[in-house]
Subunit: 299 residues, 2 copies
Amino acid sequence: MEEKEFRQEMQKKVEGIEGILRKYLPEEKGFQKTVLEAMNYSVLAGGKRLRPLLMQETYRLFGGKDKVVEPFMAAIEMIHTYSLVHDDLPAMDDDEYRRGRKTTHAVYGEAMGILAGDGLLNFAFETALKAFSETDSCGAAARALTVLAAKAGVYGMIGGQTADVEAEGLEEVSLERLLFIHAHKTAALIQAAMMVGAILAGAAGEEVARVEKCAYDVGIAFQIQDDILDVTGSLEELGKPVGSDAKNRKQTYVTIKGLEESAKEVDRLSREAADILDGFGGDGEFLKQLVLSLINRRN
Amino acid sequence: MEEKEFRQEMQKKVEGIEGILRKYLPEEKGFQKTVLEAMNYSVLAGGKRLRPLLMQETYRLFGGKDKVVEPFMAAIEMIHTYSLVHDDLPAMDDDEYRRGRKTTHAVYGEAMGILAGDGLLNFAFETALKAFSETDSCGAAARALTVLAAKAGVYGMIGGQTADVEAEGLEEVSLERLLFIHAHKTAALIQAAMMVGAILAGAAGEEVARVEKCAYDVGIAFQIQDDILDVTGSLEELGKPVGSDAKNRKQTYVTIKGLEESAKEVDRLSREAADILDGFGGDGEFLKQLVLSLINRRN
């Protein structure tokens, strides 16, 4: 697909995802209105909607055609968002801006930032559970939810977050710890996105395992690219100051391995991910292009 | 049942619950070890194990005999615990002690307090999902999980927490808001406990609705009793300073209605709850005594 056509197709798909998200977000009313506002503010603050998009496209790759995937698409974006809201808190990264907008706690206060994050994580499960009434296969929905929960939790994203927080206090971060952080903090939720899509579409266990490996490659490459962009990007493009990792003395793949070696690794991982996708046959052209564009993005 | 016999029976049951909790808690290892330690520290800090106990006894009342309830019992205690961990954070109630022990963030730091809470909430869902492999009825497990998630979330406990946080900034708290707070912050999780027990045991929809009402009464009465004890209790008995609500200028049912009126309402609610339980027939004697002892506790 030509770059321009791909961009148009992508925009159309992301608009579709925005619609799905809005459908599942809570109405802002009642005595708990403020937390609902803070949740919606956080989710609607923008973002690439990468995880729901990857889920939807993987679902389609394996022949999925139903609405059962939609609650899960909304759910994974809620989980991703809550992790950012809590990550931005004063006791964590203490960020006042994200994507050029005030962070949730900066607008609603710290207590509401904590509660909005909790609310989104819990609401993600409430939302995903709605898929159970959209399917005849309770078993597949339960397996998908189990993967989503595992990849979001202490053996997934939260585990990576923990190792990351602790790495900030260390003089030296080993490559082993760094890869653990990337595999869990970043790759785990990308794995959840693609695996849930595959499981809901009825992919075989062995296929889901290959999807997991592909998503690992995508996640690690995406994170290394993020670290590369932290060095080479600009405030204008990213909405955050250049080199914030270096400013915070945060060790990354780039600070350990250097820019050149990092770029090579991104390249290797992206080729491996593309090969796995090719191996599935089916109409995976858009998904492959998406994966490659994410990995090789310039901002 | 005689008071002494009841206490012995209760102790035996709570020991059983401790065993179930330990079975489902994570092993403390890996790069994310600290968050796992903080989670276990939080859950094993003690507590009455009221919610799992109510779940188990309601399950039994409706004839449940399997292990499917156990993951849910562990899950609801994890949810209760995470809510305390986040509630104790400096940006929330800023408590350094709970039940006479240092709170999680006081021991592990604020970032780890946030992550341990997130970890426990997520792990609660991971744990409850294990019930799906313990049952032939995927549908009942999904309904039970849906109730648990709803009662824990922004239309349940987190909603009540939000209204409570905001009430602290108000000159006057209306009785309507106060009852919303009690119904959601406290009663919702007790409702979840008893409803999940009933659903997993195969109770009919109309029975589950009566259980929900009974649990509402128990929850409201429990909370009013808590507010009464805040005034009349002592540091020794409660492990926290006397009258912390008054100290924090927090308005409660007691500060609005007075001690006498509050005690009367506790009495009315406890009789209503007992009547509902009597209406189910079956062996609900222990559950009734439990409910009444909780409501009318002296510490």
